[in-house]
């Protein structure tokens, strides 16, 4: 009996392991296989080990790949710039309103993603509440528009992923021992220095988690670009959506997805390496 005790931790891992196997590993293998097939939905697809599809796809959609990367980075930076002060205020100044404030952060999630995106379409509409007012005041010229521009797309994605920035940052700020900050001021650090040299480094795990949770879905997002953008803001997610659902071109869509995944993985490893020496788990 006791000789089998070593099995127990593995038994506990089993449900999670099976979950990953069936819903991650196998679909991944299926997708890898689809990407190497050729054919059409009508005539069927044959596995031809068409590795040439990867460079081909990368060349054909390089603009969209780079644009998605660019939007993802801008969104992550904006998210951190907006989200850090929010999380900081809630963690350090929230007082008895902490729970209420956190609730407000996740409140938008009570409506569907698509409704939130479409709401932005109304907010930024040519004659909408924002631009209509500005046009009436003569602040912007009548022909000015935000919808169908990168500004609208990036705003939409930033807004939608902001809670994913705030929550991990909050957790990590909440964990900062206040006595360490007090110690810094006792040692004649002014508030800025105490923040930059003590608080900020201590919250790097939070920043790392927030970046991942924002950057990864932001790069793959297509709905914001679809609703708020135009052809000049097409992201790689829109290409996948079009290839998969409109053209039924599964191999090319699968190849793009694999490249995107690989690219993001490499980027994240590089990012983790950049922060090496830091404890990266919250």
């Amino acid at each position: 009996m006791s000789r089998r005790r070593w099995l127990i931790p593995y038994l506990f891992l089993l449900p999670g392991g099976l979950w990953l196997l069936f819903f991650f590993v196998l679909p991944m293998l299926a997708m890898a296989s689809v990407s190497l097939q050729e054919g059409s939905l009508g005539a069927g697809y044959q596995l031809t080990f068409n590795f040439g599809i990867f460079p081909e796809v990368l060349a054909r959609w390089s603009t969209q790949f780079l644009r998605s990367l660019e939007y993802g980075l801008i969104v992550t930076l904006l998210g951190l710039l907006i989200g850090y002060p929010m999380a900081y205020t809630i963690a350090f100044r929230g007082g008895r309103y902490k729970n209420l404030l956190l609730f407000l952060v996740i409140l938008p999630f009570f409506t569907s993603f698509i409704i939130r995106v479409i709401s932005w379409k109304f907010i930024l509409a040519d004659q909408g509440f924002l631009l209509g007012t500005l046009k009436d005041w003569g602040v912007v010229e009548p022909g000015f528009h935000l919808i169908a521009t990168p500004v609208a797309v990036i705003s939409g994605i930033t807004y939608n992923f902001l809670p994913f920035v705030v929550l991990p940052l909050y957790v990590s700020l909440e964990k900062v021992d206040r006595r360490v900050i007090e110690a810094a001021s006792d040692l004649y650090a002014n508030r800025l220095h105490a923040f930059l040299r003590v608080t900020l480094p201590l919250t790097i795990p939070g920043i790392f988690a927030a970046s991942l949770l924002t950057f990864i879905p932001a790069v793959g997002d297509y709905l914001n670009a679809e609703v708020l953008g135009s052809r000049d803001t097409t992201m790689i997610g829109n290409v996948v959506q079009r290839l998969y659902l409109a053209n039924n071109d599964y191999p090319e869509a699968a190849a793009i997805s694999l490249i995107l995944m690989g690219g993001i993985l490499i980027g994240i490893l590089a990012y983790a390496r950049l922060l090496r020496g830091q404890e990266l788990t919250v």
């Binding site: 479409i118 053209n247 039924n248």
Partner: protein, 438 residues
Amino acid sequence: MPDRRNPVDPREIALQRAIAQALTRHPITRRNFLHASLLAGTAATLAACGIPAASPTAAPTGTPRLTPGATPTAEPTATAAPSPAGQLSFANWPLYIDADDPTQSPTLQQFEQDTGITVNYTEAIEDNQSFFGTIQPALAAGQDTGWDLMVLTDWLVGKMANLGYLHEIAVASQVPNFLAHAADKYKNPTYDPNNRHSVPWQSGITGIGYNPELVEEEITSLAQLLDPAMAERYSGRIGMFTEMRDTMNLALLYLGIEPASATIEDAERARDALLAQAPHVRDYYGNEYAQGLADGSLAITMAWSGDVFQLQFDNPNLRFVVPDDGGILWVDNMCIPRNAQHPVDATMMMNYVYQPEVAAQIAEYVNYICPVPAAREIILRHADEAESEEDAEYLRAVAESPLVFPTDDMLARLHSYKVLDDQEEQRWNELFGEVVTG
């Protein structure tokens, strides 16, 4: 129907509202009353010209006759007994029948009453390609897709028929009302010769919609939309479609090329024309173009006839034109997937909606092009019988609109989509992909 349905589109809400308005203009009670009196007449007709019940050709293998309500086992089509099974799974597009809540549809209710067939009507189709993606695996494996009747656009019907994915129907014996009442234009179409697999549900025109207040001249030709020099004047206020077939075929017509005979080189020229126009295009739209046309952010746009007809209730100034150089007539067809469980029930539904009374009833709500010309007289009669002037006015607008009952002159200028084989489709998709993804 082209890719024009998006369930959460604001446009959908506007459409819902438009239909709700139509509903209030037509009190349900009036319609029910009207049809109650009709039913007595049609029930007899139906029994006569519907589906032959147990006939000598039926069940040579000794298949037991199925009673209404029973669930039959899947049978090979060749030996399918021509008796109804009492059930029908019907996949259609949203807002494409005579009630915005399909369970309230008078057509479906009467059909159930008359035939004893329970209809499971689902608004399951929002896009041809993605719907085909959901049923293709079952079809390829020779299994039942779960649907008995589905409404798909002509080019997909042609493609599926070529692949052997559609159940063959005997129009003459199973859908006699189609032969008796459909407009000639719909008989023996190029995408499905002799209507061996399909009969039209509704159809529509892809042309140009515009707001006369925002353009300088009357719009009559595709050049005004597609020629960069002309389009420049409306730069940023031009709408085009994300639907590859609509946009590519329209560009071919602009270049003076008959879509049916277009080669790959022609498609490349269409791509070049679209790319030249692209800098002036505000966006490539699905349904949402209608919103833009309504709120004035689009001056001139590709448009579907039925949408503009609906928009005209709010803004009578809006126009829809079939350009002199041509427009596209697309046809959404009822068809039965291979290995469907209840094909006989499906053909009964096909025959049912081709009664002019029923066709009129659907046309009054749907406002796309009605395949039954005789429905026009009936709608006019409904207008005369209408209780309120508002009702009558609406019904007359439907009957007299060339967008619901097009004139011969319009029909003569309409072309069908080119039916693409796999290779062509792949190439066209690539070419069009260059246009819509900058």
